[in-house]
Amino acid sequence: MLSLAVEAMANQEKILIARQEVQSALNEELTELPRRNSNKINEGIRNIGLRVASILTLILIWWLLSLFFPPTLIPKPSETFTEVATIVSTGNFFSEMGSTLRRVGVGFGIAMIVSIPLGILMGTLRSFESFFEPPVILGLTMPGLIWAVLMIMFFGLNETSAYAAVAITIMPMLAISTWQGTKSIDKDLIDMSKAFHASPWSKVVDVILPQLISHILAAIRYGLGLAWKVVVVVEMFGLSNGVGYQVVRGFNIFSMKAVLAWAISFLVVMIIIEFGMIGWLEKAVTKWRPRAEAWRR
């Protein structure tokens, strides 16, 4: 019965299509081809426009304020941007920024090597969870500034204290994200991997880690925010180069222009890293997921 019905349906469809073809051939001159309403591009332009407008508004407020205060307190935006240009053109900027980035990078690397495996173990083994939960929670509540001071006192005025301060500040947060992510992974897929005798390595790399990626990326985003703060503090306290050191130097000669110029160039680099690199990384590792944002306006 059903197969007959299906066949009948298929036949009817064929007739319909044939009819439509004849019709469309007749009306070719009169009717337009179906066309998709394409406001996608407009939407993209609108979003970029809003972001640019937001930044311009901030600069406008700054400029208005600078009219009412002496330049030692609030320098004009134009003067500050000239200072930024000087820092960048003398090459000073790249070496100082490089030192800061290296400290954040190394500290981050150490934290990831320690925290991701720890988080996975905490998510899989109850004993690890019970044992490591208290230190991780305690570590999370400790302010980064205190870690910075502790590390400088312990390691002295050198690179190690910067690496250690960055690493130890973000470790707890990274561990918590990985741990919670591991707990929420799909048990059915683990069963599936058992059914196909996947090796322990393959289970981690092919089944578990891909499910943790979005948790880890969120942790990296948040961790970077913490790391910038901590590294600048360490540089202010105890090192002789880096963005933090330059800011303190500007403070010592009481040059608001210099402090702001370093702060702004630092911000620009951070934005490039956070939105550019991490955004790109996120897209690259989630390209298997169809985007469905239909509910957003």
Partner: protein, 253 residues
């Protein structure tokens, strides 16, 4: 090829309150070589547990499962292909990547991968989608990937756990036809779990009827129709289906 012998399978589960619940009560059956054996019974009777016991995912409290294979290599793992109710694909891997995951797990030599992927994706009509990610495919196509993943390891036994129950009627029907013809062509030994009597009559060369929980075998019916002769609209086939339904209903009491 191989056949499966389940002998006196007993399995208890833990209830919420800590007491034991008997799920399988001495279940015995044979799944014959080169054919599909359907385990049919009411929902929640322990069919899936039984299938997991055959695959080794679950251990039995009593009784045993034997997979008798003519491959004399004593050391080798019995190769079992599993098709789940949900496709259970690795959505972050392309279709071919999902097949490679199974090939790698079963230690199939790498030089055979490409040829096998080609063959089995072609068999389930998905060759052109080998580079696609699963979430861009329809539900029926994903289930086909699941079938290809189970077949690509050239399993001695293919286990299927209600693989059509979450598909719409037309898709399920087409996929049943295709699976039956593929299994017949490959002379595949297979065990299919279902609660759908029509599906059991259509797919099963042998139909094992299980009671409500605790499950035991109430009847074993050999399908009088050859796979090619199973026509859902044929009156005699409908008669057979009705008879089977009566037996299943009887087993639920």
């Amino acid at each position: 090829m191989a056949y499966v012998r389940v002998d006196g399978a007993v399995k208890f589960f833990d209830r919420e309150d800590g007491t034991d619940m008997l799920v399988l009560e001495k279940v015995s059956f044979d799944a014959q070589e080169n054919g599909i054996t359907c385990l049919v019974g009411p929902s929640g009777c322990g069919k899936s547990t039984l299938l997991n016991a055959v695959s080794g995912l679950e251990t039995l409290d009593q009784g045993h499962v034997e997979i008798v294979s003519n491959q004399s290599d004593a050391a080798h793992l019995p190769r079992i292909g599993y098709v789940f109710q949900d496709p259970r694909l690795l959505n972050w891997k392309r279709v071919e990547g999902n097949l490679i995951f199974a090939l790698k797990g079963m230690r199939i030599p790498e030089e055979q991968w490409q040829e096998r992927i080609q063959k089995y994706l072609n068999l389930v009509n998905l060759l052109e989608f080998r580079k696609q990610y699963p979430l861009y495919l329809s539900g029926g196509m994903r289930q086909r990937v699941g079938l290809a993943r189970a077949l690509v390891i050239e399993p001695e036994v293919l286990l299927m756990d209600e693989p059509y129950s979450k598909l719409d009627q037309l898709t399920a029907r087409k996929l049943r036809e295709d699976t039956l013809s593929i299994c017949t062509r490959l002379k595949q030994t297979a065990v299919l779990v279902t609660h759908d009597v029509e599906e059991a009559a259509y797919m099963g060369d042998r139909i094992v009827i299980l009671s409500a929980r605790p499950a035991h075998v109430t009847e074993v019916v050999d399908n009088p129709f050859q796979p090619v002769a199973r026509d859902l609209d044929d009156l005699r086939f409908i008669e057979f289906k009705k008879k089977l339904l009566k037996s299943v209903l009887r087993s639920m009491q």
